[in-house]
Structure formats: C-alpha cells, structure tokens
C-alpha cells in the first residue's frame, strides 16, 4: 500500500515515515503531500510561541490533556476527546547542524495516549521560529485526521512571527519579569497574539506584567469605551470608524500556572471563542487564503530559483560572483546581468 493511503487509514508508522520524508524534502514526501492535500483544511491549527523558558511545552502538555478528556469539552458541544497532533520545534545548532529536541520532557502526561501524536523537529537553519517544513508536517497531520494541531515554536524573541501566518489561533506566552511596558509596545511578537497568556502567574511580578500587557493591548486595539477623568465623561469611539459595525477581536489576557494545571480550562475556552469568532466573521477563510498564498509564493520562489540555477552554468555564475567580490559591479547589476543574459 502506498504511503498516503496508509496515512489516511490511520497507520501510525506510515504517518511517522511520511513526516520524515516531508521534513527531508524527499520526493516521496512531495508525492504524499500531493495526494493528501485534498484532505487538509479541517484541523484547528493553534500556535504557541514566546520566549525560552516561559512554559510553552508545559502549556501544550496541559492543553492536550484537556482536549483528551473522556467526556469531551463542555462548552464547544464536542462530546468526545479530540485527536491531537503536536509539532514541537527546537533550534538547530548553526555550527554543527545538530540539535537537541527536548520538548517531550514536559509532555510526559500525554506520551502514551494513542489519541496524541507528538513530533519534534529542528529548525534546520530557518530563522522565523518554525522550520521550513513545518507547514508540510502540519498538512500531513491535518490529513491524517488530527482535529487540533498544536504547533510549538522555538523559544522566540521579538521577531519570530512566522507562526501567525501558519496558525489559525496564535498564543503568545509571557512570564513575569521579562520586561517593562516599553517592551510591551515594541513591534513584533506581541502584535501577533490572538490570545496572550501570562504563565507562571504564581511568580512575583505577575500583576505588574499583566498591567503592562493590558495597557499595551488597549493601545493596540482601541475599543469604544467611556472615558472618565476629573468628573467629566466622554464616549470614545473605537479606532476603526469604518469597521464600527463589525465585531473586533480583542486579544484576551489569560493567567496560568501550567505546571499545576491552573488556568487551563479558561485558556481552552478563550481558544474556543477565537475559533467561533474566526468562523462567524469569515476571517477563517481569509486566513486560510493568506496562508496558502504565502505558501504558493514561497514554493514559486524556490522553484524558480532552482530552475534558473539549473539553466545557467557554474562558470558564468562564478564569474559574475567574482566581479562582485572585486567591486566591479554591484549585486543588483550582477543580477540584472545574469537574468537578462547580456554580458553587462
């Protein structure tokens, strides 16, 4: 039986093998992806990102446990345990190409559950917080019938925002003591949060962190509200006059202590509300389209470069490179020379 068919039938070894082929960019993987693609698009993709040590893996562990409850989820009407796929990403060493993938250490509770499939992957040189093949792995899991897929990024700093393009719902995990209110208004990772989680809420400084993040959220997402100051009252409209009639998503702040399982039900409920919001407003479709467009563009770019490289001789390429190194032409001029085919 071929690989894609075995994956669709729920063969776990075939699934594992298929993920390897996709991750390695092997022809078998591409073949399988082509076959599996019509079966994708059903899973809820949840991204979990944040600085190293904020507790991403522990949160993933707790969320997966929650979704695996025997009775299903009270609030969503799904009365059976969901099948959960997890993709956990850790960095590749830039010097040796090796990696230690340690996210499973925090996922012991769900390690033996047949309804959970955990796959660790290394970034292999990618810088956006995901590996290049992450989207492909997620597609395979989606086709294999996992209903919720949790994607844990590498420990991310300020600019690793690729996850927002891949996931439907992005959780940004913060912990007390990581920065003041200026950190909170910088561009980058906080902006991509659909839900902000302050984990380790039992640690000192948790309330201060919450205040800083809350004021940041208010600046970033102006909502109509009543402004009171020295006895005066004024009604302030939202910052989006053209969207006044459409519901807006205000990222909620969720408190949690993942190692104790505190705040997990509330977090899962917030995720559920976001899922409903995406469907009710049509944003689910918009995000799907944006994601597939990004994927199309990326593949197009890679394929064009590959195709072009195979059409030009090594020598011609090296000659042009040498002329850049000698400062005879700029890289822009060099590209024009190479693509237009004139001798420059």
């Amino acid at each position: 039986m071929d690989l894609a068919a075995a994956v669709l039938e729920g063969d776990r070894l075939a699934l594992a093998r298929c993920l390897t082929h996709v991750e390695n960019g092997a022809p078998e993987g591409r073949e399988a992806l082509n076959r599996l693609f019509p079966n994708t698009g059903r899973a809820h993709l949840i991204g979990i990102t944040g600085a190293p040590g904020t507790g991403k893996s522990s949160l993933v562990n707790q969320l997966a446990r929650y979704y695996r409850q025997p009775g299903g989820l009270e609030n969503s009407g799904r009365m059976r345990p969901l099948r959960i796929g997890i993709v956990a990403i850790d960095p590749t060493s830039p010097f040796t190409g090796g990696a230690i993938l340690g996210d499973r250490v925090r996922m012991r509770d769900i390690a033996g559950d047949p309804g959970v499939f955990i796959r660790s992957m290394a970034t292999r040189g990618s810088l956006g917080g995901l590996a290049n093949a992450t989207a492909g792995l997620v597609q395979v899991m989606d086709a294999a019938g996992f209903e919720v897929i949790l994607i844990e990024t590498v420990g991310a700093g300020q600019a690793e925002v690729d996850i927002a393009r891949l996931a439907h719902t992005t959780l940004v995990v913060e912990a007390p003591g990581l920065g003041d209110d200026i950190q909170a208004i910088k561009a980058g990772i906080l902006e991509i949060a659909d839900i902000l989680v302050i984990n380790k809420f039992d640690q000192p400084g948790a309330e201060a962190a919450e205040r800083a993040l809350r004021s940041m959220l208010k600046l970033a997402h102006p909502m109509p509200h009543v402004f009171r100051h020295h006895g005066q009252q004024e009604i302030v409209p939202s910052g989006y006059p053209d969207r006044e009639d459409k519901p807006l998503w205000m990222p909620p702040l969720q408190r949690s202590v993942a190692t104790e399982g505190v705040g997990i039900v509330e977090l899962a409920n917030a995720i559920e509300r976001h899922y409903q919001f995406l469907h009710d407003t049509g944003e689910w479709q918009q995000r799907e389209q944006a994601r597939l467009q990004a994927e199309l563009d990326a593949i197009l770019q890679e394929t064009l470069v590959e195709r072009w490289r195979s059409s030009v001789s090594e020598k011609r390429y090296d000659d042009v490179l040498a002329s850049i190194v000698a400062r005879d032409v700029s890289p822009w001029q060099a590209v024009k020379t190479l693509l237009d085919g004139d001798s420059g």
């Binding site: 070894l13 993920l19 040796t96 090796g98 990696a99 230690i100 993938l101 499973r104 012991r108 590959e306």
Partner: protein, 136 residues
C-alpha cells in the same frame, strides 16, 4: 532540496535518577550533527517505543544505571519490533556488568558502552550501523 539527518532518541528507562551520562551523550551526538530527541527520566518501555515510532528515529540510546537492564531492554526491543520498527538500532550505556553484554548483543542490542567510553566511539558506531544512506 533533500536533507537527511540521523535522528536518535535518548531515553532513561527505569527508576534511577542519574541522567548525567545520558545528557553528555545527547550533547555529543548533537555536536556530531545529529538530531537528538531527549525524553528525560523514568520512561517506561512503552513510552520509549511510542516516542521512537512518532519521531521515526534511526537509533535509540538507553542509559540504565539501576541494574534493571535485563528486564527493560528485551521489553523495549520487543515493543519496537511489534511496532514494525525493525530497522531501529538500540544502543545501551550505563552500569552494565560484563557478563550480561554477550546476552544483550545476542538479543539485538547494537552496542553496549560502560563508564569511560569515548563519545567518539559511540558516534562512530551509530554512523556505521544506522541506515547507510544517512551517513553524512
């Protein structure tokens, strides 16, 4: 663009808490360019076999210092086989009495490494025994 890496699961089955050796080996394999899935302490044979399956590893490295290797190792080998992972090589380190080594190798363990083993030796053996297409 096709890129292949040797993937190794490093696990500590059983109840002893001495994970320094496992961490040293994990780090050495990382520095040798391998992808090491580190699972931590007190793993059951079932957890190890299931992790090896999900991660589609080429090799499993076990560290046992509790003396329970003659009970744990055969169980893990059987589970790997039952899952259809016949190609996975199993390496064993820790405190393993010399007289047990021949029996372990007979069961199908690919190598046994006691205290004082050079990490280079382990790396070389893994590279030599896993799927030859993978050797970097």
């Amino acid at each position: 663009m096709s890129e292949r890496k040797i993937r190794v699961l490093v696990a500590k089955p059983g109840l002893d808490g001495h994970d320094r050796g496992a961490k040293v080996v994990a780090r050495a394999l990382r520095d040798a360019g391998m992808e090491v899935i580190y699972t931590g302490l007190r793993q059951t044979p079932e957890m190890i076999a299931e992790s090896a399956l999900q991660e589609d590893v080429d090799a499993v490295g076990l560290s046992i210092l509790s003396g329970a290797h003659m009970a744990l190792v055969p169980r893990i080998l059987d589970l790997l086989k039952a899952n259809g992972q016949t190609q996975v090589k199993v390496f064993l380190g820790g405190i393993i009495p010399d007289e047990d080594v021949p029996r372990l190798l007979e069961m199908g363990v690919a190598g046994v490494y006691g205290p004082g083993t050079l990490t280079d030796e382990i790396i070389r053996d893994i590279r030599r025994t896993v799927n030859p297409d993978l050797v970097q």
